[in-house]
Subunit: 510 residues, 2 copies
């Protein structure tokens, strides 16, 4: 066995264990009877411990060293070179975080999540505050262990969006704020589009599923390597490209939740299913820091695909021109007095709200900016836990002109902080930005994509994305991937162009 093959065989086992961890999670969120909760926790913790030991074992470094020697001189962007490089980077970061901190984090997570659930129910921020304080302290400790030049947030970003920094995020957000505020102001001046047919009529779940499944299939999601299940909080998860599962929930009183939710998860699924078979069970299909089987190169890059299929494709006028008759065939009664144009306008309403997950394409980014600014402040000490609720309110008033009536609809809204996911919120907006960069580049580089989309054919778009993005797994960092496929690093130009063009038509300058 060559040194590279030995390295690959070792990582393959770690990937297997990551796939197993993903299955344990998927099962617990879609199938497991309630009684299994506690013992499932032990099972996850045991497998995670084995995988962690296997990866951080000094043997891994020896294998990396030997493999590196073997691939020296091979093309710098080959998968072999990249797999070794990526494994080394993650190995070095993982080794910097003391095992005791990992244990402490896992223990704190499960406690603080439980407290957060209760605090949110009781609208009692003070109850959650001490756990959040501990969590911030632990995140600061992790940031110190990983190391950073300017801001502790930079160290945490390594896990979610490698290459990103607090400084650059602030610049991107400033550009977005400048570009989006006038659109939002204009939209607010218009009366809300008609949407009684979405909010006052019942859409049976089985029909929602049938329609969304048909669209997933049209997008190119392969049901021989995937399936759709019910869950409370929808997600996509994979156990190699050969088995990529998406989940959803159905609200019979508000169908767009499941429909766009499934377009969204389909986008995540297409990324995973599109990984090059050559990277199956390699480092390039594994998040070795989080011990998570995933081919997407960053949270932002992944979110870019879900947003691209949900919004740029699924919320476009041409999409509904093509697919509205199909939707109507599933819901003839509910949609008897509606046409494609009215439906398109209804699912593109813009309206500031209190809740991130209920927001629209424009306001979504403001919800994110608020959270990221607060996260950075908590980490660098410029925002105290006690002041957090009032700062949250003030920012919502400033950015969106709405005032949370309580903390349940305010600072207690999201699970992320209780779960230790400091640094992940920004990837939602990074995904939005990237989605437009990929989409614009695809349409520019392949002139057949646009006419295909106009006919309701999605294969040329999927092919471009697979060739330029999906197949590479973790071979390239987000900016490298963008540079190679679009000619530019992350920038807000295409996203602002896309939103301006779309919403100028929906809410014309008067």
């Amino acid at each position: 066995m060559s040194a590279y093959d030995e390295f690959t065989a070792h990582i393959a086992k770690i990937n297997d264990l990551c796939c197993v961890l993903n299955l344990l999670t998927w099962d617990s969120r879609t199938q497991m009877p309630e009684g299994g909760t506690e013992t499932r926790g032990h099972q996850i913790s045991t497998v995670a411990g084995v995988a962690q030991e296997m990866f951080t074992n000094p043997k891994t470094l020896q294998l990396i060293d030997a493999a590196e020697k073997e691939v020296a001189g091979e093309p710098e962007d080959s998968y072999r070179v990249r797999a070794v490089k990526y494994a080394r980077e993650h190995y070095e970061i993982a080794r910097r975080i003391p095992a005791s901190v990992v244990t402490e984090l896992n223990e704190l997570k499960s406690m603080s999540q439980a407290v957060w659930i209760e605090a949110r129910q009781k609208n009692d921020f003070k109850m959650f505050a001490p756990y959040l304080a501990k969590m911030v302290g632990l995140q600061q400790k992790i940031a110190e262990a990983i190391g950073y030049k300017e801001h502790p947030y930079d160290a945490l970003l390594v896990r979610y969006e490698p290459g990103m920094t607090a400084r650059r995020l602030k610049e991107l957000f400033a550009e977005l704020k400048a570009g989006l505020t006038p659109i939002l102001e204009r939209a607010k001046a218009y009366p809300e589009a008609r949407h009684d047919f979405l909010t006052e009529r019942i859409y049976p779940a089985d029909k929602q599923k049938a329609f969304a499944t048909e669209i997933s299939r049209k997008f190119g999601y392969d049901f021989d390597r995937g399936r759709i299940d019910l869950t409370v909080h929808p997600f996509e998860i994979s156990f190699t490209r050969q088995d990529v599962r998406i989940t959803t929930r159905y609200d019979e009183k508000y169908a767009p939740q499941a429909l766009f939710g499934l377009f969204h998860e389909t986008g995540h699924g297409l990324y995973e299913q599109g990984a090059d078979p050559a990277i199956t069970r390699t480092a390039l299909a594994t998040d070795l820091l989080d011990l998570y089987a995933v081919a997407g190169t960053s949270y932002g890059a992944h979110e870019a695909q879900s947003r691209l299929w949900e919004n740029l494709v699924g919320r476009s006028e041409v999409f509904w021109k093509n697919q509205f008759p199909l939707l109507q065939s599933y819901f003839p009664e509910q949609l008897k007095d509606v046409d494609a144009e009215a439906f398109y306008r209804a699912v593109n309403r813009v309206k500031p709200s209190l809740v991130r997950t209920e927001s629209d394409e424009i306001t979504y980014n403001f919800h994110i900016m608020i959270r990221v600014e607060i996260e950075m402040g908590l980490l660098d000490g410029t925002i105290s836990i006690e002041k957090l609720p009032e700062i949250w309110k003030a920012k919502y008033e400033e950015y969106l002109g709405v005032t949370p009536p309580n903390d349940t609809l305010g600072a207690l809204q999201d699970i992320h902080w209780s779960s230790g996911l400091f640094g992940s919120f920004c990837t939602y907006t990074i995904g939005n930005i990237m989605s437009a960069q990929f989409y614009e580049a695809a349409l520019k580089q392949n002139p057949e994509i646009k006419p295909a989309l106009e006919k309701g054919e999605y294969k040329p778009l999927l092919d471009w994305l697979t060739e330029n993005v999906y197949r590479h797994g973790h071979a390239f960092l987000p900016d490298e991937l963008l540079q190679r496929s679009t000619g530019s690093k992350l920038n807000t130009g295409p996203y602002l162009r896309y939103l301006t063009e779309k919403f100028d038509l929906l809410f014309p300058h008067k």
Copy 2:
């Protein structure tokens, strides 16, 4: 941490991994899209390797030694003493089998299963013969490694029915043959009971599921710690007592398959759900030889529970007197011209057949005897692979008076030999024998059970079984368990009494 606690913590991790292996299997047989087959194989193999290494590591022996010292002097039948004893026994056997043989077996299994599937389709025994020859050779090698006094079969039985030997099996089979042959001959002299309503009417799958679920619940299966799923070859599997899943398939043209199938799997499920919470994640809830999470003490003891609930309860006259109206409420059209008595007679038809899985309470045991006699002959060299098909035919003619027209319906019928399960067939009949011992003892010891059964109440019976059998896990070997709970070791008395009484009424002496 005490030595015993350290031992327990180590075994708990191995149990976690066994639960994970069980989940990987359950998922692959109920949920997994086809594309996942190959990578799932890698995942199973990696986790099995880790669990195997963890158990056979010399560290395990040190922990066993230290724990044994700590529990010395405690009651001989305490769970603590038993857990250490059982772990040591399995450790010693596991260490005797060379790792190379385990690898060889796993590789041969997957190959020979694939060949068996094709050979069965093509009715080509010669195609399968070389793989079967290799498998017999490997099983002989394993038997030599484990060690035995009289017959290589004894060594293989350790895995499935500890304490059982070829010699004792032959005695039990001789008793059964003598007792069952006259019943079978008498049954054959009667015309077959009316059963057109079972074979010529359609029973929708969802109604079958609803009825069987209601019965499972009445038997005491806890759906907060379990669920029912669809599969091709039904089975029960658990991931601790807290999560015990059963599976089924529905034949709309022949409802008894799913109905009795679900009673059967419910019986397995009740055994696992009934384990004492104190043995969760301990050796007493783990098959440490097969790295399989299971609380049942042997294959036979487990089968005894499935047979008890399927046959002694579910195929009894009093059961259908109570539950037939419920069945009729689900299938009013299909059963409009049928009463409880007719239904009872229809599901207790006795008729020699070619296929084990389609046989009845009487003939089932003959199917098993034939297989076990052949297995023993293959292992001790008195039967050659080439002669196997004709020996199979001759035995079917002798025991059941039927002649397989081909090997697909003959020696190629079962998956067991291609899967290396030499020694497991006998446990089906051992389960039958044991089921009647437990049932007779329960009714004798608690006089409330019989009147309860007459009212369609199953809790007193379940309580007796839980208290005397289910809760103990692997604490006692089958014969110890029988001795403690029924006052006798394994013996055919109660089973022959049960069958004689039942079938004397169905097929009276003329």
